[in-house]
């Protein structure tokens, strides 16, 4: 998580989604959610994924993050072919390479902010002291060093989401995926979260893929991708925002 100057030369694509098809079968009905979709995301990019409800945004995000597998096609992240990994290899891969931010924060309610952030670190061989350093660093980045011992119930929505972000960056992953991270927040807290994501992208070079319905949120991204009826409809470089 150390801050270095951005390198001037173009980076190779971090994410390659190649002709991905995703179908769900319910009883006898087959629902094709993604139909031969391809997408590349450069390392260090900040992509906003928009589209109507039910268009397959979450589905696509899950495929990229290795939570789900495509019916056909390939998903590569870095050098890893995510779509071909075994269940347990994927779990290990996710814990190392991906940070997750959800709309409803999804913190563990019985754990304190500190313990929530420590959770993914428990899966690493780090010692207790090393984990403490990582947790404290992550919480200081999101500005919640003074709330370590608070449980989710004692935090506001915006603070909960910041803890969730701290949890996502604690293991220092290359990729952050966020599914409507501001969807449940008021404008002010949402803005804080977006500023934080921008900073993680800028300062810490996290590649971010964010699903959002909010044009204001999308405007913070460097790139906007529109998904409709299972296909990528638009792919526009957002003008005049950071990148």
């Amino acid at each position: 998580m150390e801050s270095t100057e951005p390198s001037p030369q173009p980076r190779p694509p971090l994410i390659q989604v190649q002709s991905v098809v995703k179908k769900y079968t319910r009883d006898t009905q087959v629902l094709t959610v993604l139909d031969g979709l391809s997408l590349t995301v450069d390392a260090g990019d900040f992509v906003a994924l928009m589209g109507p409800s039910g268009s397959g945004k979450t589905t696509l995000l899950n495929l990229i993050a290795g939570i789900d597998r495509p019916t056909s096609g390939r998903v590569l992240v870095g050098a890893d072919e995510v779509s071909a990994m075994s269940e347990s290899a994927l779990a290990k891969w996710r814990s190392r390479h991906v940070g997750f931010i959800f709309q409803l924060y999804n913190l563990v309610p019985v754990l304190t902010a500190y313990e929530n952030v420590e959770l993914p670190l428990l899966l690493t061989p780090l010692s207790r002291a090393q984990r403490r350093k990582q947790v404290e660093l992550a919480l200081s980045i999101v500005g919640l060093s003074d709330r370590m011992d608070h449980t989710p119930r004692q935090l506001s929505g915006g603070q909960e989401q910041r803890v969730a972000i701290a949890r996502a960056i604690g293991t220092d992953p290359t990729l952050l995926v966020a599914d409507e991270p501001t969807g449940d927040l008021d404008a002010r807290s949402g803005e804080e979260i977006l500023v934080l994501l921008e900073r993680l992208n800028d300062e810490f070079h996290k590649t971010i893929v964010m699903v959002t319905h909010d044009p204001k949120a999308a405007a913070k991204a460097h790139r906007l991708v529109h998904l409709d009826k299972g296909v990528l409809e638009e792919d526009v470089r957002a003008a005049g925002s950071g990148g």
Binding site: I67, K92, P109, V110, L119, P120, L122, L123
Partner: protein, 386 residues
């Protein structure tokens, strides 16, 4: 896995009321299981400290209420392997009244041989000499002394029914080691009071020199009196005692069935709790797996939670039993079951059984929710609202 313990512990007490109720519903049945198990074990226990395996009893084949002639005594005594024989006549009768709480064993015996047959009995108050020198001397088990608060030298009046009359005895000796809830006196007292009973014997109690003799003698003795008007039934002390127990109905089967049902009920309760708490946490578990928790880890977390929950209840139940045991035993000793209660102690096997049952309940109740949680696809879990 140890680093996940705090998480598991916090999950156990996530819903405090529910956890406390579940723990209570394991605790109380487990307490009952410990009591029942201890009773059952006490039936099997050998208060003679192993000496009982050298002893045989001889009674009339028809029933315990039919008498045998005293003439059998020398015949049995001269058999090879027989070390000692005493007559034991069941006095019956009543002390104060016929209520169950005033029931205890009263035997008319031959003092000298009696002490040699039951040589594990040791006199703790008074002396055997004083007892034997006083024809109406009474030897009393320590437990019974305690129950009534009797003193050495105190006079005890028993009213006879099988042997009509009122008999007053003086406590001359207090013993421990054998059946401590009974009283013993010289059978000549009865013969003098009711001459028609002279020469009649309810039971012969034999001490053998070896286990081989114990195996050989019953057939030999029963064959010896086979064709007489008083055929015998010879059995080991254990068999004899157990035949009393089976007279109480099939206690063993009853206790075992009750225990099994209790175990099944707490299993259902615990399983219900675990199923509920796993259902409430579908999203949370999906999030953990998203973060990289393996299926096996999730399985372990849910199972660990159910085992811990169950063990909490089990531990408290066993602890409650251990703490209340002295009082419970005291209460049992003063009841008509006093004879069995004498063999009651904190059997390590029963306490272990208690923990074993708890562990089993924990594992079984958590198994289905744990497998379900671990198997559900992450994407499905994340979609679930709640």
């Amino acid at each position: 896995m140890i680093r996940f313990l705090p998480l598991v512990l916090k999950n156990v007490f996530r819903k405090k009321t529910r956890s406390v109720l579940t723990i209570a519903s394991i605790l109380l049945p487990l307490f009952v299981i410990c009591i029942l198990g201890t009773l059952l074990a006490a039936l099997d226990a050998d208060p003679s400290g192993g000496k009982g395996m050298f002893r045989l009893t001889v009674r009339h084949r028809i029933s315990i209420t039919n008498f045998l002639p005293e003439a059998y005594l020398p015949k049995i005594r001269q058999l090879p392997g027989v070390k000692e024989v005493t007559v034991m006549n069941w006095f019956g009768g009543k002390y104060v009244d016929n209520s169950a709480k005033n029931f205890f064993a009263r035997f008319a015996i031959d003092p000298e041989p009696f002490l040699r047959v039951f040589d594990e009995a040791t006199v703790v108050e008074g002396s055997t000499a004083e007892w034997m020198n006083d024809r109406s001397g009474l030897m009393v088990g320590q437990v019974l002394m305690g129950k009534y608060g009797w003193r050495l030298g105190q006079q005890i009046t028993l009213k006879g029914d099988i042997f009509p009359g009122i008999y007053t005895f003086t406590i001359r000796a207090v013993f421990k080691g054998a059946d401590e809830s009974g009283v013993y006196f010289d059978r000549r007292v009865l013969e003098e009071a009711v001459p028609r009973f002279k020469g009649l014997v309810g039971l012969f109690w034999i001490k053998c020199d070896s286990v081989q003799t114990v195996e050989r003698l019953p057939k030999e003795i029963d064959a010896m009196f086979e064709n007489s008007p008083y055929p015998t039934k010879t059995e080991t002390e254990k068999e004899f005692q157990n035949s009393w127990v089976s007279m109480l109905g099939n206690v063993r089967l009853l206790i075992t069935s009750i225990t099994t049902i209790i175990v099944l009920v707490i299993l259902l309760i615990a399983a219900n709790t675990m199923a509920m708490s796993a259902r409430e946490r579908v999203t949370e578990i999906a999030v953990l797996r998203t973060l990289g928790f393996q299926r096996g880890t999730i399985l372990g977390l849910v199972l660990g939670e159910s085992v811990l929950l169950s063990l909490f209840g089990g531990f408290l139940g066993v602890a409650l039993f251990v703490l209340s045991f002295p009082g419970f035993k005291q209460g049992m000793l003063s009841s008509p079951m006093g004879g069995f209660a004498a063999g009651m102690r904190l059997f390590p096997g029963i306490l272990a059984l208690g923990f074993g049952i708890t562990l089993l309940v924990g594992l079984l109740s958590g198994l289905v929710p744990a497998i379900r949680s671990a198997q559900r696809p992450i994407a499905d879990g994340l979609r679930q609202v709640g």
